[in-house]
C-alpha cells in the first residue's frame, strides 16, 4: 500500500457548474426555509409579504391618526409607505442572518451547502417579502387615490436596489460577526431600534437644521430613502442624497462582510 505523496493535482469545478450547483442549493434552501417558517397551515408562504404589509399598514395608520409632522407636503400615507418599507428592507435582512448557523448547522454536513447559500436563501426571501409588500401596497394606495404614480419609476427601483444591496452587506457583516462574538448578537437589536428613527423613514432630510442634516446623512440608508422619495414625489420633494457615498460605504461593508463570512465558514463545526 502506497500513501506517499506526490505534488497533488487540485480538482476544480468549472464556474458554470458551480453556479448551477449554487442556484440549485439556494433554491432548495428557500423551499426549506418557507416550510420551516410558515409551514403548511393557513396562508402558508403568503406570510412572506403579508407580515411586512401588516407592519407597514399599521405604521401608516398610526402616523396618519397622530398627524405626525415630517417636514414636507407629501401626504402622510405615501410618506409612511416609502419610509417604512425601506426600513423593512434593510433591517429584516440582518435580523434573519444573525445567528443563522445554529438552526442550519445540520445542513452543513452536505458539502455543497455553504454558509453563503444559507445567507443567500434568507436574503432572497427577506428582499422578496419587502419588495412584494411595497409593490402591493403602492398599487393599493394608488388605486385608492391616496398617492399618485411615481414620477420617475426607474429612480424608485434604483433607490430600492441600492437599499437592498446595503441590507445584504449589512446582513452578511452582522450575521457572520454574530457567529464570532456573542455581543454583536446582543447589541444588534437595540442598535437596529435606534437606527430606525434615524434612517430617514420618519422625516424629510430637508426639514432638518443643517447640522442635523450633515449628521444624519452619514447613515447610508438615508440616501437610499431620499432617492426613493425623489423618484416618487420628485417635484414636491427636495431630496438630499449622494449615490457615490452610499455605494462607497456599502462596497466597503460588502468587502468586510465577505471577509468575515470566509473566516466563519472555515471555522464552522458541522
Amino acid at each position: 500500500m502506497n500513501r506517499s505523496l506526490h505534488p497533488p493535482k487540485i480538482a476544480s469545478t468549472p464556474l458554470l457548474v458551480s453556479l448551477n450547483i449554487q442556484r440549485r442549493v439556494i433554491g432548495a434552501l428557500v423551499m426549506r426555509e418557507i416550510l420551516d417558517r410558515w409551514g403548511r397551515h393557513n396562508i402558508g408562504f403568503l406570510w412572506l409579504f403579508f407580515e411586512p404589509m401588516i407592519f407597514t399598514l399599521a405604521v401608516a395608520a398610526l402616523w396618519s391618526f397622530s398627524k405626525m409632522g415630517h417636514g414636507s407636503t407629501i401626504p402622510i400615507v405615501a410618506f409612511a409607505l416609502t419610509g417604512y418599507s425601506a426600513v423593512l428592507l434593510w433591517r429584516n435582512m440582518p435580523n434573519r442572518c444573525v445567528r443563522a448557523v445554529q438552526p442550519n448547522h445540520t445542513l452543513m454536513h452536505h458539502r455543497n451547502i455553504k454558509l453563503m447559500d444559507i445567507y443567500g436563501a434568507r436574503l432572497l426571501l427577506e428582499a422578496s417579502g419587502a419588495t412584494i409588500s411595497f409593490m402591493l401596497l403602492s398599487l393599493l394606495f394608488i388605486g385608492m387615490g391616496w398617492m399618485k404614480l411615481p414620477e420617475d419609476t426607474l429612480k424608485v427601483v434604483f433607490g430600492w436596489l441600492l437599499l437592498a444591496w446595503f441590507g445584504c452587506s449589512l446582513a452578511i457583516l452582522i450575521g457572520s460577526l454574530s457567529e464570532r462574538f456573542e455581543i454583536v448578537h446582543i447589541l444588534w437589536h437595540p442598535i437596529s431600534y435606534i437606527l430606525f428613527p434615524l434612517s430617514g423613514a420618519a422625516f424629510a432630510v430637508s426639514a432638518l437644521p443643517e447640522k442635523a442634516q450633515q449628521a444624519v446623512l452619514l447613515l447610508p440608508m438615508v440616501h437610499g430613502v431620499e432617492l426613493i422619495r425623489e423618484g416618487y414625489f420628485g417635484s414636491q420633494y427636495h431630496a438630499h442624497y449622494d449615490i457615490a457615498y452610499m455605494a462607497g460605504v456599502t462596497l466597503v461593508m460588502t468587502l468586510f462582510g465577505m471577509a468575515q463570512l470566509r473566516y466563519v465558514s472555515r471555522h464552522i463545526v458541522a
Binding site: R3, I21, A28, R32, M108, H109, H110, I113, V269, A270
Partner: protein, 218 residues
Amino acid sequence: MIELVNVTKRYPVKGGERTILDGINLRVRPGEKLGILGRNGAGKSTLVRILSGGERPSAGRVIRNMSVSWPIALSSAFHNHLTGLDNVRLICRVYGADFENKLEFVREFSELGIYLREEIVTYSAGMRARLAFAISMIIEFDCYLIDEVVAVGDSRFHEKCQHELFERRKERGKVIVSHDPNFIRKYCDDVIVLADGKLHEFSSVEEGYEFYDRHMKL
C-alpha cells in the same frame, strides 16, 4: 481519489486550542475499503467530517477527485421540523436528483408508511435511523463515509442496510469508523489508527489491530 495533504485540525477550547489532527497525510483510492480505528476522542469523526467536506481543515489541503458522501445514516444531517418527505425533497434538490423516483425507494426501504408525512421531531430513534439510512442511499457516490452505522435499527433492518451498502455497492469506496473489530475485519482492505493526532498506517488489517490493541493498553 481523495487526498489529505498535511491536514491539521484544531478546535478552540477554554484558554487556547486543542490539536485533534496534526499534519495528517492520507489517500483513499477509488474502491478502497478503509477502516479507521482509534480511542474515543482520537479524532475519527473529525477525520470523517473533513473527508466529507462538512468541516474545513485548520491547515493543509483536501483534494477530491471522486464524489464523497456525507457521513451515512447520520440522522442529524436532516431537518427536525420538516416532514420525512420534505427532507427527501430537500436532499434531491440539493444534489439535483429526481424526486419521484427516489421517493419510491425511500418509501419502500424505510417502511415508514404514513409517518413520512409527519415531522421528524415525532419520530422515534429507530424511525429516524431508518429514514436517515434510506435517504443516504438515494444519491450515488464513489465513496461512502460510514461513522458507526452498524447499530442502526433492529437486526432485520440492519441486514437490509448491510446488503444495500456492501452487496449492491460492493465496488464503491468506503471509509468506515467502528469500534467493532469483526465489522472492520469483514469489510475493510486497510486500516489506519489515529493516536495523539497522528495517523498510523499498516500493510495489513491484522497489523493495524495489533498496534491498536497495544496502544489501548498504554
